[in-house]
C-alpha cells in the first residue's frame, strides 16, 4: 500500500516535471474564476438547500430536506415549473427552425450578404433589458404597435401581455427574437463545414433541393443542432429578464419562471435556503433534460 502511494506520488511529480508549466499558468486565471464564481456558489447553494437561511440572519439552522418537501407542495413553485416547461416547448423548436431557415438563406449567394448577417446578429448584442422594454411597448394592450396595426385593418385589440393564454407566447416571441442571431450564426458555421461536393454529387444523382436539405443538410448538421438545442435548453430554463420586465410574472402567475421564483424567494422574501433548494431542483431538471436530449438526438452521419 505504502509502495503504491509512493509510486503515485512519484508519478504525479514526474508528470509535473515533464509537463508544460506555462500551460498551467495560462489556465490558472480561468480555474480561479471558475472556482470563485461557479464551483463555490454551486456547492454553497447545495449546502444552503438543507438549511434555513434568511440572508440577513447570521444563523443557518440545518433543516434536512424540509425545503425540498415544501417545494413539492408549493403551488406557486409548481406553477413556475409548468410555466418554464411550457416556455421551453415553445422556445426550443422556434430557436432551431427559425434560425436554421435564416442560416440556410444566408448561406446562399446573396447580394448584401454581409449586411444581412450583421442585421440578424444585432439582437443578441442588444442589451436584453432594452429588448424587453421595446417588445413590452409593442405588445401593450393600449397604444402598443401590434394593437395599433390591428386597428388599422379593423380588428379588435388583443390582450397580448395581460391574457393568461397569450402572455407566455408573447414572451417567447421576444426571447426568440433576441436569440435568433446567435443560433443563426451557429447554424451558418455548421452549414459552411458541409462540403459542396456532397451536394454536387446529389444533384448529379437527380436530388431535388428539398431532398438535399433533408437527406444531406439536416443529417450532417445534427451535431450543431444538438449543440443549439442544449444551449437553448440551458438558456430557456433560466428565463428571467423578459417576464420580470414585461409582465412581472403575471397575469395570475402565468409567466412566473423558476428563476423569477428563485429571485423572489431569495431576495424579496429573504428565504435563501428555500431559493437554493429551488435552484438545485432547476439544475437537476436541466441535467435530466440535456441527458435526454443527447440520448435521443445524438447520431453520427458520414457520407
Amino acid at each position: 500500500m505504502f509502495r503504491r502511494v509512493r509510486s503515485l506520488g512519484q508519478a504525479i511529480s514526474q508528470a509535473w516535471r515533464s509537463s508544460n508549466k506555462i500551460a498551467y499558468l495560462l489556465v490558472l486565471p480561468f480555474v480561479v474564476y471558475f472556482i470563485v464564481f461557479y464551483a463555490y456558489p454551486a456547492l454553497f447553494a447545495g449546502y444552503l438547500s438543507f438549511h434555513e437561511w434568511k440572508v440577513i440572519s447570521p444563523d443557518k439552522p440545518y433543516i434536512g430536506t424540509q425545503n425540498y418537501a415544501y417545494l413539492l407542495t408549493d403551488t406557486t413553485f409548481q406553477r413556475s415549473v409548468v410555466n418554464t416547461l411550457y416556455f421551453l416547448i415553445l422556445f426550443l423548436p422556434s430557436v432551431v427552425i427559425v434560425p436554421l431557415s435564416i442560416a440556410v438563406m444566408l448561406n446562399q449567394r446573396l447580394r448584401f450578404q454581409a449586411f444581412f448577417r450583421a442585421a440578424y446578429f444585432l439582437p443578441i448584442v442588444t442589451f436584453d433589458v432594452v429588448v424587453a422594454l421595446v417588445w413590452a411597448w409593442m405588445f401593450a394592450d393600449q397604444g402598443g404597435l401590434l394593437n395599433y396595426s390591428l386597428s388599422l385593418v379593423g380588428l379588435p385589440p388583443v390582450r397580448w401581455l395581460s391574457s393568461e393564454r397569450l402572455a407566455m407566447p408573447a414572451i417567447t416571441v421576444t426571447t426568440v427574437w433576441r436569440w435568433i442571431g446567435y443560433f443563426t450564426l451557429i447554424f451558418l458555421a455548421g452549414l459552411q463545414t458541409i462540403p459542396r461536393t456532397v451536394y454536387e454529387a446529389a444533384m448529379i444523382d437527380g436530388a431535388a433541393p428539398v431532398q438535399a436539405f433533408f437527406k444531406i443538410t439536416l443529417p450532417l448538421l445534427n451535431p450543431v443542432i444538438m449543440l443549439a438545442v442544449v444551449v437553448a435548453t440551458i438558456n430557456g430554463l433560466q428565463l428571467f429578464t423578459e417576464p420580470y420586465l414585461m409582465t412581472g410574472g403575471g397575469p395570475n402567475f402565468r409567466t412566473l419562471s423558476v428563476v423569477y421564483f428563485i429571485y423572489q424567494q431569495g431576495f424579496r422574501y429573504h428565504r435563501m435556503g428555500y431559493a437554493a433548494a429551488a435552484g438545485i431542483v432547476l439544475f437537476i431538471l436541466m441535467l435530466v433534460m440535456i441527458l435526454v436530449e443527447r440520448k435521443t438526438m445524438e447520431r453520427r452521419f458520414e457520407y
Binding site: K54, V55, I56, S57, P58, T75, T76, L133, A136, W137, F139, A140, D141, Q142, G143, G144, R159, W160, L161, S162, E164, L245, M246, T247, G248, G249, G250, P251, N252, F253, Q264, F267, R268, Y269, H270, M272
Partner: protein, 422 residues
Amino acid sequence: MKRNMNLIVVLVMGLSLILSACGPKAAPVTIEYWVINNDPDEKLANQYAVDFMADHPNITVKVSRMGENAEETIAAAVAAGTAPDVVQMSPLDALAYSKEGALVALDSFSDFKAAMQAAHKPADLVQAYQVESHNYLIPWRGSPILLFYNKALFEQAGVEPPKSRDDFVAVSKAIKEKTGAFALGTEGGGLQPEGWHRMFDYLELYDNTPNKGQFLNQDGTKAIFNNAEGVKTLQVFADIHQAGAAPTSAVSEDLFSAGKAAMTFAGSWKYSVMADVGILKPEDVGVVLIPTPDGTTPSYTFGDPRDLAIFSQSKHPNEAWEFITFMLEDKSSLALMETTGQLPVRDDLTSNATFKAYFDEHPEMTIFADSIAYTIPMDMSEHIWEVLGFFSAAFQKACLGDATAQQALDEAAAQVNDILGP
C-alpha cells in the same frame, strides 16, 4: 516648603496640559451612509456629509448610492458582512432586519427620547415603529400619497376632482369618454402584479376603509383584505380598468407626466418627475386628498416613508447615531425639503418658524405637510411582501375581469393564509 509645593503642583498641571495637548488625538472614524437610487437623495446626502464633517472633523461620512433594487443590495451586503453604518430603509424591510438582530436598537442611546422630542417626531408613530418594545428605525422622511389631477383634462371633461369613491369611478369614466385620455396613470407604469405597485393605487383608497389599510388581522395570522371593505375598494379599480379608463398592461412611460392620463396617486416627488419630463408645469396640475368612501374627511393615506437605521455590523454606532441626530435637526429638515422636494416626518412642519419661508415659497407643499398626520403605517408583518404579491395578482385578475373582486380576493386570501400557517 509650601511655596515649593504650590510650584510643583502648578508645574505638574502645566505638564499634564502640555502632554494632553501633544498626546494622541481621537482616532479618525469613517462611517458609511447608503442612500436610495435617485439624484436628489444623493445630493442631499452629500450635502449632509459635508456639513456634518465640518462640525465633526474626526468623522468622515462616505455616501454611497444604492442600485435600482435597494432592498436586494442591502440584503446582499448584510449577508456578506459589508453592511453600511447608516442606511435609508422602509419600515416594511426594517421589520425583518430588526427581528434578526441586524439593526441596532436606537432606543439604547441615552438621548434617544430627547432626540425624538427635539425633532418633533410624532409620538404615536415612534410607538408604532416599535418591534418587540424597541425602536430600530427613526421616522425620517415621508411623502404622503395624494391625488394629482390634470386641470386641462378635467376642464375638457367638465368634471371636478373626486371626493368620494363613487365620484372617483364616475369622474374616471367621464374623462375616458369625453377626452379619450386615460383617467388613471398609476405610478410604476400600468397594471402590473408586483406587490409594490399597490402602494400607489389600491392602498390609498383602502386606507380610508374601516380596515385602515391593513391586509392582515392584528396579530398577522390571517388575511382580512377579502372582507367587504377590501372587495368594495377593489371593485373601484376593476370598474375603472374595465371601462378602459386605465391601461391594462405594463406601460413604459409616465402617463400622467406626459399629459396622457388625468390622475395619478403620488407624493410631492411628482413635481420633480414632471419637471424632468418637461410637459406639465406645476400650475397645470392640482392635488387633492384621497377620495373617501362617502366623501367626508379626514382622508387617510400611505406615507411612503423612508427612514433611518444603523446596522449591528457597524463598528462605529455612536458616530453613526451622532450623524443621524444631525440629520434630524431643524436646519437638516429644511435642507431635506429644499433639496428633495419631500418632507421630513415631523409634527411641527407648518408651525415651526424655520420652515415658514419654505412653505411661503412652496404653497403647493402645504397639503402634503398637513397630510403627514393622516398617514397610516402598513402591516408590521415579516410576510408583507409575499402578502402583497398574492394580493396584487388578485388585483390584476379582478381589474382584467378574469374573476370577480370577491373571487380573486378569496383565492389570494387562501394563498396568504397558507403561508401564514395555522
